[in-house]
Amino acid sequence: MDTLQHLLAGFAVALSGINLGVAAFGALVGTIVGMLPGLGPINGVAILMPLAFALKLPPETALILLSAVYLGCEFGGRISSILLNVPGDAGAIMTALDGHPMARKGLAGVALSISAWASFVGTVVAFVGIVLFAPLLARWALAFGPAEYFALMCFAFACIAGLMGDAPMKAVLAALIGLSLSTVGLDSNSGVYRFTGGDVHLSDGIQFIVVVIGVFSVSEILLMLENQHSTSGLIRVTGRTLFNLKEMALTTWGTLRSAVLGFVVGVLPGAGATIASAMAYTMEKRLNDSEGTFGKGDIRGVSAPEAANNASAAGSFVPMLTLGVPGSGTTAVMVGALSLYNITPGPALFTQQPDLVWGLIASMLVAAVMLLIINIPLVGLFVKILQVPNWMLVPGILAVSAVGVYAVHATTFDLVLMTVLGLLAYLLRKRGVPMAPLILGFVLGDMMEQNLRRALSITDGELGILVGSPIAIGLWAGAVIMVAVPPIVRVVTRRRAASLAAAKG
């Protein structure tokens, strides 16, 4: 009953005038950012975050804006996947497999509307999941002490390293670089200035916004510069713009299955929308592809990954809200946004700031409804935006990014640091070093160090406390499993494939 009451209060927050307006604006901007190839949710959230802060929005409103942008991006990515065969963001890669063939058959309107519907269903399923499970998890997490928190953060890094695919050591490296960057500045416990080189601009550390914009805006522009593609292959939307009941019935179960799968994957730290949509697509293909229509424009191959990627985006809010430990790059940026307001997310937030937490959760449903409404009739408008030339768009992105960074401290130093970090991030990305662990490391660095020091203060330096409780031991074991299992699985599947090939040959 408690939950229901909080949820109603949350809707009261989400439906207030300014928050409704902000959610609508965020949904619109998010769809556009998600749609533009090269820019994904993390870029959208990173570019808007400093502006939200500079505009002095209250914390719940800022968070609602950012989450609407995040969800909007997951909606928007499908538009360019379907019409251009270029995924708008990483979560929409699978949508192109069947969405683009559908568009070439003249069913672009159907593909767009069914995927918007599936995205909506995915978000709603994840919303229900959050309402049911987040309070339980938060209550359980209240028992965490500093040692458990330290273990939990190590677990989050292990998940990212294990799940980020082919280069776990590079993910570890990225996390370490992020953690190292976070140690710059004044150490509040001892009053020692670390790694500042005597520069007064660095004395309170590197600004979070500077890192985020450098890593996700400046380096992204450099990558776009290198891989330019034209929008000449844009397919026009003709014919039916809405799916019919038969198509809806055909996709219903797959959509629901994929949404649940996406939510579960989203809750796990490190996995995220890309993995969720790939898993959902593979699952639906295995279950339904008896006639070999997947990949040639099967409507079920459009709805499943879209339901999964939206559900996982919403699901990734669970670890952030309940544990205070973000599981993805985008939610890490949001934790950074909260820290600008001196709010530390975590289990205590549910009791101390219920309006913030439940307002955010309620606003996800509100944003999902808005996204459904704006995405089906307004598709024509979005297609027009896809035709804005890059020579106009990219200077615009850079200018808005610079405004965001400048708004924090109004120094040239921050702007130069942003550019330098962006160039370094570009070089790292060229070597396949992922940026999500870096930003996670930067956000978690201070928390990790503080929890380690607090834990060791309790025992006066005895390391045993780090493995002193069942929860901590469980988390360490989980971390080991997350790092060890994926490579083993990869080796086993490779051997099996090799032996199969040998048997055939």
């Binding site: 505009l55 050591m169 150490d187 416990n189 001892s190 290198e226 020579w391 200077p395 060229k430």
Partner: protein, 148 residues
């Protein structure tokens, strides 16, 4: 650049970190773990990760050749100059000038890019500084726009 170079750079950076961190000590200590333990731990791990890449480099990732650097250089240089002159020239002028090389790198002509950049500079300045109260430097145009 290869994984080997990246790894070597990380090892060197880790050594620098450790060297800088060794002197960090609290004047009065209240806790068993001081300000240098965590940075030293990170430096150690960073050195291990870097050494790993030197010993076992992977072939993933793209090479950065001269052809790419030629494409990237005008855009990258424009970004650095933009950051340096943002305050001095003011937001509007700096944005209009930045848009020329960046816009041209993305296939615009210099006239299109300059016009687009000037439009962006004026529109975003009015939007943020005048309408949304995010203070931006007016620089060279301060005699028209007011402010600093």
């Amino acid at each position: 650049m290869s994984d080997r170079i990246l790894g070597a750079v990380c090892v060197v950076a880790a050594a620098g970190m450790a060297w800088a961190a060794q002197d960090y000590a609290a004047a009065i200590s209240y806790e068993p773990v001081g300000p240098k333990a965590f940075p030293l731990l990170l430096a150690g791990l960073l050195a291990v990760a870097g050494a790993w890449l030197v010993i076992r480099p992977s072939s993933h990732g793209d090479a950065l050749g001269w052809a790419q650097i030629k494409v990237l250089l005008p855009g990258a240089a424009a970004m650095v100059v933009y950051a340096l002159l943002f305050e001095t020239l003011g937001f509007t002028v700096a944005t209009a000038l930045m848009a020329v090389p960046v816009g041209m790198a993305f296939g615009g002509t210099w006239k299109q890019s300059l016009a687009g950049g000037a439009g962006l500079g004026v529109a975003l300045y009015l939007l943020f500084d005048k309408l949304l109260d995010v203070v931006l430097p007016s620089g060279l145009l301060s005699f028209v726009l007011g402010g600093r």
